[in-house]
Structures are given as C-alpha cells and as structure tokens.
Amino acid sequence: MRRHGPFLTMALYLGLLLLAGCHGNQAALNSKGIQAARIERLWWLMFSIILGVYVIVLAWAGTAVFRARTHRSENEIPPQVDPIADQRMTRVVGVAIGATVVLIFVMLTSSVVTGHAIANLASKNPVTIDVIGHQWWWEVHYEATQADQTVITANEIHIPVGQPVVIKTASQDVIHSFWAPNLHGKRDLIPGYQNALWIEADEEGTFRGQCAEFCGHQHAHMGFFVVAESPEKFQAWLAHQVSTPPPPSDPIAKHGEEVFLSHPCVMCHTIRGSGAGAKLGPDLTHIASRMTIAAATLPNTRGNLAGWILDSQSIKPGNKMPPNPLKSDDLNALLTYLETLQ
C-alpha cells in the first residue's frame, strides 16, 4: 500500500490541475449568467453523485480483493455457503439496486428541470441578435425596427449586463454551434433553420466563445467574444456602430480607400459610406473598433492586419480569403485607411 502512496498523491494533484482548467475564461464552471449557473449547479450535483458512486464501488472492489486473500476457507471445494452471510448479501445488493434507481432518477429529474429552466427567459422586450455562422467566422446583426438602423458586425457580440438577450442562430454553409460556456450551453446553427437561445450576463466582462460543432478546416479558429457591459455603455456602442464612418480626410487614408475599392477586397467586404457593399466576408465598417481579427484568432493590430491581408492562408489555411500581394505603399495606405474605421 505504501508503495502506491506517491502515485496516488500525484494522481490526485493531476486531477486537481485538470479542475483548475475549468476556471478561467471560456469555462462552464465559471458561470457569469443565470443559465450557466444552473448548468454549473447541475454539473456539480452529477459530479458529486458520480464521485460518491465511484469511491464506494472502488472501496467495495478493494475490500473484495483484500478479503479473498485472507479468508482462504472460502476457496474450499465445494464452496461452503453460509446462509446468514448469503441473506445479508442479498439485502446489500437489493439496497444497492434501489439506490442506483433513485440516483439515476435524481439526475434525470434535475437534468430535465434544469433544461426547462434555462430554455427561455421571460422578457417582452429583449435585445435581439442574429448570429449567422460562416466558414469560419460569425456574422452578427442587431435587429432594429428600421432596416437602416440594423448593426452588422462580426465575431464580437456586445450585450448589456442584467438584460435578457435572445440570440437567433442561422448558418450560411454547414452546421456550426454557438457556445459561450460562461453564459449558456451550446446551440447549433443549422442551414435553412432558425434556432434561438436566451442569454443574460450577471456581471461585466469579456467571455470567449467557440464553435462547438466540427465545421471544416478552421473549426478550431472559429472563436468569438461576448462583451458584457453596462446598459449605458452598450447603448453608446450600438449608436456608434450604427453611424457611418466619415470619409477619409488624410491623403494616405484616401489612397487606402482607393486601394480597397480597386482590389479584390471590394468583392467580398462592406464598408458603409465607401461604396463597397459585398456581403461574402465580414462587414468592415467599424473594423478598428474590434479587439480581434480572423474570428478571435489574432489581436487587431496593424501588423497582424497586414499579415492577414497579404497571406491569410499561412495563418488560417483554407479560409475563404485569397492572398493579396499588394505593393508596400498600397498596403501601408490600406492599413492607415482601415485604422480610421473606428
């Protein structure tokens, strides 16, 4: 027994380390919303039941092994059956079966109750966001009563703290799955079919999410951020996103706009106010206001943007953006222009 001591300790520490992985950002055991909290509670309930069962079963098995070695009389042929011990075992097995049924019933019931409780948040006037999956990025629309007030952005979802938000999901190509574990469980994005899920954040913060349904080459690099902020900050952000950026005044930025409009960029991207209105790639109207590019793959810096424009295939092989070898002057101007799109 002593020999196994260090291994057991190590296994325990390793187990604890694994648990630590559940606690950062993008973690289901670090709930920041009422639904995630319910899911987390369910997780801990199931975990403790399963842990208890596991320990009891192992202890039982261990006892059996230990006793088989000490009571050699039981190995006599023919085996001696002790009627009292036999009756006792029947009772024990009966209780174990009963307990199993009860525990399974407890887990089943709590699972159904949790599922029902998180299915929707009653609210008459929620913030409504359409999330459309693409290979391999997220298109985000904020619905408005007037069409020209609709905000279109990508890979970054701002929500007000303490207000129910309904997210309607759809897909352009294959099945994706929307998963921000700090706020809620997964919801599939299915082509030709609209799903919806409700989320509500309890506190401010930036929570990473990820596509949770294998969708091709760059599935692993299909991330997004949910930014939960105070309702005032959210409204200010929304109002800014609705606005059309002013035309570039700086001559370099002006040249950058020309580069954008005369190169393949214009075939796929929209920049409101510039004349570029294609909808194949992410809307770039306010690209400089975003934290990341390439679906939460790279921080949004000038250098990363340059690398992405020139040869995105070396960063996310297989993505739908072709390489764009630009002359250095043109690239520089284009970057300056994109940086004005706050």
């Binding site: 190169h263 393949p264 194949l280 295939q313 092989p317 297989g318 390489p323």
Partner: protein, 181 residues
C-alpha cells in the same frame, strides 16, 4: 502473386488523391492578372503561334467546386443564371461567342466583352479566375466526369455538371493563334 496484384491495385488507388488535393497558398499578384491577354488577331512583327494555356485547375474536383461556389458568390449567376442565361448568354450549350478553350474564358472574365460582360481585372485573384473557368467549362460537360460537381448545395436548378452530356462547340470566332489544332 495475388497479393502483389492487390498491392499494385492499392497503389493505383493513390493516384486518385490528386483529384482532391487542396492548395491553399496560390500566391498570385492581383495586379498582374491577365498579363499577356491577346484580344486582336493581328500583332506587330512576327506573329508567334500561341499555344493555348491548359487550365491547371481542371484536374482538381476541389478547385472546380470552389469555382462553382465563386460563380455564385461573385454574381456570375446575376446574368448567366445557373447556366441557362438571362441578361448574359447561356453557358450550357455548344455556342461560345468568344471560344470555348480555357484561355478564351479566362480572357473573357479578365477583359470583359462588348455589350455587357464586365472586366474583373484586378478584382479577382488569378487562381480564382482559373477555378471559375474550370467550373464554367464543366457546365457543358467539357471536364471529366470525376472532376465535375455531382450535386447542388441548394435546390436543383439543372442536371448536376457531372451528368451533363458533353457539348461539342465549333471553333468559331476564336482568334487565329488560339485555335486548338
């Protein structure tokens, strides 16, 4: 003996992999698109015979399906519909106003043509144009069946390219140097 035969057959199967090979890093300078496109039959000095370019993407099923995707994305459907034509001429039949060779179709996309076909010079990377060319030719059955797309991603508007019978366009209106011998 039969084992060796089996191994040889298995090795033969590997040859099929090229059909699905995907090259993501086709670096092509967008500002050089369409260099060397010849629109006129006459040229100063000695006219060298032009050897028609083979389309490097016509052997890859992946490239042809990419061409099919881009054909819709870049709004070729806007005028040519799904091959039946509308504002622009149909692409399913044997009538090719400016020639049916890959180079002819490439030139048409890069340069545009009178009466409505816009020039996509500089707007579409060269590799993608070649993919669209491959797809356009698959619409009238010019490509091998194992490379042509076998199904639609949406509602069927026509027979899949892989089961389209091959049309035999006559070599009309092809500049002298570009005619296939």
């Amino acid at each position: 003996m039969s084992k060796r035969l089996l191994l040889a057959a298995a090795a033969l199967l590997l040859a099929g992999c090229a059909r699905e090979q995907r090259n993501f890093r086709e670096a092509t300078p967008s500002n050089a698109t369409g260099e060397g496109v010849q629109m006129s039959e006459i040229a100063p000095g000695h006219t060298a015979e032009r050897i028609p370019n083979a389309n490097p993407y016509e052997d890859s099923a992946y490239s042809v399906s990419e061409g099919k995707r881009l054909y819709e994305m870049y709004n070729c459907v806007g005028c040519h519909a799904h091959g039946g034509g509308g504002i622009g001429p149909p692409l399913l039949d044997a009538k090719w106003i400016y020639g049916s060779e890959p180079q002819n179709v490439f030139d048409t996309i890069v340069e545009g043509r009178p009466n409505g076909m816009p020039s996509f010079r500089g707007k579409i990377p060269e590799s993608q144009i070649w993919e669209i060319v491959a797809y356009v030719r698959s619409m009238s059955g010019q490509l091998p069946k194992d490379v042509s797309p076998g199904r639609e991603d949406h509602m069927y508007s026509k027979r899949p390219e892989a089961s389209t019978p091959k049309e035999h366009p006559p070599q009309t209106n092809v500049p002298e140097g570009q005619k296939q011998k």
